[in-house]
């Protein structure tokens, strides 16, 4: 899908601690190594303390803005159920695709017993994202005994929709993790591909 002429927009969402920044960095390195111009924007600092975390990833021949306009994300990646709904306005609902983990993390109002986690999240996703694929990445990360690999499973899932070769991903995974975690993350990447294809 990453055409050499058109800019590809990927909006990544989740909750602090889910490895969203790492996911985005790996993806950007892949695009850069494929010879594309790449931009990424993210928010650090106070916004990071357990809050929503988002990054904008854009690649193509020449990229100007580091921010994705609303309604123009080719892919919305969400590592958490509710966060998919929160950022759905960025998705190009006609041509874009939502790739999301239905894993649920309670926001403060929920864990402080002020309200319940909304029960209709999936219904809203169905309504607003006609083109979507659900990837139970966290659940599978637990199965391979590496809960932190949720992000790389999601990367594997996304890779099935992009044109980059597997070796480009494998190279950045090898370079991007400490040696003892490389094998587990390569496995997670492969698992993500299987989950998206299966």
């Amino acid at each position: 899908m990453p055409q050499k002429t058109k800019t590809t927009n990927i909006f990544v969402a989740g909750v602090g601690g889910q490895g969203i920044l790492k996911f985005s960095n790996l993806l950007c390195e892949v695009a850069m190594n494929a010879g594309l111009d790449v931009k990424k924007s993210e928010i650090h600092g106070m916004a990071q303390r357990g809050g929503s975390v988002t990054t904008h990833v854009r690649f193509g021949k020449k990229v100007y803005s580091p921010l994705i306009p609303q309604g123009s994300a080719d892919f919305l990646i969400s590592m958490e159920h509710l966060e998919a709904v929160r950022h759905i306005r960025f998705l190009n609902r006609e041509k874009g695709r939502l790739i999301y983990d239905p894993y649920e993390i309670a926001p403060p109002e929920v864990y402080t017993a002020q309200r319940e986690y909304p029960a209709d999240v999936e219904d809203r996703i169905i309504k607003f994202a006609p083109n979507r694929i659900s990837i139970p990445a966290f659940e599978n990360a637990l199965k391979i005994k590496n809960p932190r690999a949720q992000n790389v499973i999601m990367l594997g899932a996304l890779s099935t929709c992009l044109d980059f070769t597997d070796s480009l991903y494998e190279d950045v995974i090898k370079a991007g993790f400490k040696e003892k975690y490389v094998e587990s993350n390569l496995k997670a990447f492969k698992l993500g591909k299987e989950l998206a294809s299966g």
């Binding site: 600092g45 990229v63 994705i68 306005r89 926001p107």
Partner: protein, 588 residues
Amino acid sequence: MSEKKFLSGDEAVAQGAWEAGCHVAAAYPGTPSTEILEAVVGYPDIYCEWSTNEKVAYEVALGASMAGARALYASKHVGLNVAADPFFSSAYIGSHGGLVVVTADDPSMHSSQNEQDNRYYGIAAKVPVLAPSDSQECKDFTKLAFEISEKFNIPVIVRLTTRTSHANGVVICEDRKSLPVKGYEKNVQKNLILPMFARKLHASLEERMLALKEYSDETEINRIEQGTEKAGIISDCVSYTYAKEVYPEAWHLKLGMSHPLPEKKVRELASKVEKIFIVEENDPVIENAVKAMGIDCIGKEKVPRVLELNPDRLREAFFGKKHEDIDTGDVPGRPPALCPGCTHRPVFEILSRLRPVITGDIGCYTLGALPPLNAMDTCVDMGASITAAHGIRKALDQTEDAKQKQKKVVAVIGDSTFFHSGMTGLANVAYNQSNVTVVIMDNRITAMTGHQQHPGTGKTLMGKSTVELDTTQVAKALGIKHVYEVDPYDYKKTKEVLKEAIALEEPSVVITKRACPLYDRTQWEKPYWVNEDECIGCKTCIRLGCPAISFKADKKKSYITPVLCTGCSVCSQVCPKGAIHAAEDKDN
């Protein structure tokens, strides 16, 4: 040799400084500028330090420049307020070695208390302002800034914003140009701003700015890009990328140097187009300058002044088209919160029960103001907790209203903030004697910005062991008689100490000392657990606002999420029924 790297704007500034042969870099951490020095430390050719505050950092850089070194100062926008005094004078003094001032503004206040526009500092102090729009330019302009600084004998601002600091792009990296430190030469007429010298320096500064005005028209970083429509856009910083994206058919005057303004190029653009838009974030700095030239333009009446720009907001400004918003229903917010195991949590929980007036400060602990703790009344700027508490106390002392008079006032400040600008305030409390209690939440690190060293940690930015300032000794030396130190994980003791200190009729300091659990994970214990047979569903633990504790509405019992719990034990100490247990209790 050149190499492609995927760098954030902050990292690119560091790379640019290194390539330019920079010798000394000084800063105080502050989002979004922190990563500049964190990247600089990766280049051993540059001496770098976390200074105690921005004023100190600025003067360190200025001193290094006086000695003929290329020197870099970096801070967030409000940091330059702290350094404003030496900054203004340094424009008069100029540079010997190149002096580059990096300010990272934060439109939209992603992690700041205001969205002040630091381009005004360039105008007010008469210092040129460079305006990179992406990572490549962050690197290139930092290098160029050193050259301009030396050529024109002036400090140079490189102005970033969050969307350049924390945006990554592909950067072509080159080798370092090694330069010797020129060395110190006594020159009082330049470096010692007695009025008799300063009068001449001011005249010289005006001349330097005139020369820079010419440079601004000559330099390639201010360029006109031809368009196909009769509209022109003048933009700087990241705004250029949005304008280019949304309106590529327009003519663009891209300002790489926004002050002084390249007036000839502005007039040239005006001669080519029928209308001119000014695209800049926050204040109408360029707009005002263009209008002062007598050129009509469309600026802040269309382009929003509050919060950062983005392609959507610009599209609306240019074409009146608003992106169709969809109603996805109610989505509960996910604001930042104190982390599980946060050492500040028990202190705030106790203060929320004691209900004094609580003046806060800048750091993670400002989050203590949020529900359910609601344990903070004010937050102004670095160090204002102590000084504002003093002022409130003095005012309340003046009232006739007994209830107001009896109010207790507690200041809450972090360790790094205390060394930054709390010490002078505490000296003032002692000197002018006000009955306030200052709680120094000493978590042994600058936590908010991502764990930077400070004078109380015993380590420097470059990883060297050094003297460790003892907060207790400092407070005593500053004239405070009653100084307590307590482990905030010991809930009962902390409560006793706070009560005692607040009840005193003299100034007091309570140091709640324990390392930030995210910085020092060695103190983590196994997760605690709730015995549902003992839990009465009173929600006392829920009032702590710990992300690891939730309330199961169906069972009316609390629950601890094991993967989130750090084993700090505070919830087990507040539980009135002793229903929360350490892991080993379960094993037994």
